[in-house]
């Protein structure tokens, strides 16, 4: 495991733990998701640079475009949740449990 591999693995795992354990507000969950996607972007860029494969240099941009779409959907859901539930705390999402 190279130092670069270790760095992005630990960054991803920290973001994933933040998403799963720190469940207070929806905005922080979305930030953790964005952190995961940016880690993946850096990892994909470093992979194509390390292997010096110019065919893969386009793929980090595709990943970045998809993660931007995902963040956009997440922010719209944040607005929808705030409009229907009053605030964006994850504890308030309890209408469907029984």
């Amino acid at each position: 495991m190279t130092p670069m591999h270790f760095t992005f693995t630990s960054a991803f795992i920290l973001s994933l733990l933040g998403l799963t354990i720190h469940r207070t507000s929806l905005l922080s969950a979305l930030l953790c998701l964005e952190g995961m996607m940016l880690t993946l972007y850096i990892a994909l860029t470093l992979w194509s640079v390390e292997n010096s494969s110019s065919a893969y240099l386009m793929s980090p941009l595709i990943l970045l475009a998809f993660s931007a779409c995902e963040a956009c959907t997440g922010l719209s859901l944040l607005i929808a949740t705030t409009r229907t539930h009053g605030n964006n705390h994850l504890q308030n999402l309890n209408l469907l449990q029984c």
């Binding site: 591999h5 693995t9 998701l33 993946l40 959907t73 929808a80 229907t84 999402l93 029984c98």
Partner: protein, 347 residues
């Protein structure tokens, strides 16, 4: 919703699954899954009800986390081995992480907690899409990497799935939650056979999709979402109540109906692999699922017309039978005699 917008979303839903079907590269498969998630989100939220918004938020968070985990695992595989192919996975860490990510996407048991709540917040048509079409793309990836999967992980996931799918549905009165738990139990049957015979898993997936489509369309036809409201079906439309009964029994896997075929083939294959204890446990835990299907059957057809119900009777609106239900219903009930043909064509 605007018909143009609706058609765009439905077409990109089809596009996402098609991309995942036709890709052998992890990045493309991930792109298909993302397109699927992003396309169904507006369809789920289109009612603007607090329940629909909450279900969409939960669905989005779980699916986004699962696909990020999937891409991270395939990235680990690429850093270790230098290749992106789905078919040639070697790194055990990556295989385990991908199995868990796809199980989270499908709603297999230890990661199933989102599925009943999300399905409860949707209307029946979107629930139909969620529990049939959205299962296809992750399951196809699992089938593509079936020889590399770890059999112990799959067997433990499957046993927990059938157990929790049966157990969780016992205490529910909402039909959509019961259908969600039935989906969890059926996914357990599919993934237990995945490593040993991917063809039978595929056959089980197709039959499950047919039977679930029938039951969702029938519930949509009678506008029923609770056990109380399907007990009114006999007075409204006796033939529909017979159809619901047959479809529920087929979903439970009783012998003369189609639902028995995959269970039969899976138990036979498990016996060939000398996994007798696992086969016994699977057959026993399915009895739990069978109990709540039988309870639904009982309140649909076997109780007499209620004279004093504790609910307001709904309006008797005339709904036309869509041609898709007569198409799906024979497949749901009468496919068992075709078992030799289907089984030997899979070999």
């Amino acid at each position: 919703m605007n018909p143009l917008t609706l058609s765009i979303f439905i077409m990109s839903l089809g596009l996402g699954t098609t991309i995942t079907f036709s890709s052998s590269h992890w990045l493309l498969a991930w792109m298909g899954l993302e397109i699927n998630t992003l396309a169904i989100t507006p369809l789920m939220i289109k009612q603007q009800h607090p329940r629909a918004v909450e279900a969409t938020t939960k669905y989005f968070l779980t699916q986004a986390a699962a696909s990020a985990l999937l891409l991270f695992a395939s990235m680990t595989n690429a850093w270790m081995t230098g290749q992106w192919s789905i078919l040639e996975m070697e790194n055990m860490t990556a295989i385990t992480l991908i199995t868990l990510a796809l199980a989270l996407k499908l709603g297999v048991a230890p990661m199933h907690f989102w599925l009943p709540e999300v399905l409860q917040g949707l209307d029946l048509k979107t629930g139909l899409i969620l529990s049939t079409w959205q299962k296809l793309a992750p399951f196809i990836i699992l089938i593509q990497m079936a020889p590399a999967l770890n059999p112990n992980i799959m067997i433990s996931l499957a046993i927990i799935s059938t157990l929790i799918g049966g157990w969780g549905g016992l205490n529910q009165t909402q039909l959509r939650k019961i259908l969600a738990y039935s989906s969890i139990a059926h996914l357990g049957w599919m993934i237990i056979i995945l490593h040993y015979s991917p063809n039978i898993a595929m056959l089980n997936l197709v039959l499950y999709l047919v039977i679930t489509s029938t039951i969702f369309l029938l519930f949509n036809l009678t506008n029923s979402t609770t056990i109380n409201s399907i007990s009114m079906t006999t007075t409204k439309n006796p033939i529909i109540s017979i159809l619901i009964m047959m479809t529920l029994l087929s979903l439970g896997g009783l012998p003369p109906l189609t639902g028995f075929m995959p269970k039969w083939l899976i138990l036979q294959e498990l016996a060939y692999q000398e996994l007798f204890l696992v086969a016994t446990i699977m057959a026993m835990t399915t009895l739990l699922s069978l109990f709540f299907y039988l309870r639904l059957t009982y309140s649909t057809t076997l109780t007499m017309t209620p004279n004093s119900m504790n609910m307001m009777s709904s309006w008797l609106t005339k709904k036309n039978l869509k041609p898709i239900i007569p198409l799906l219903f024979p497949l749901t009930t009468m496919l068992l005699p075709l078992t030799p043909m289907l089984y030997f064509s899979l070999q």
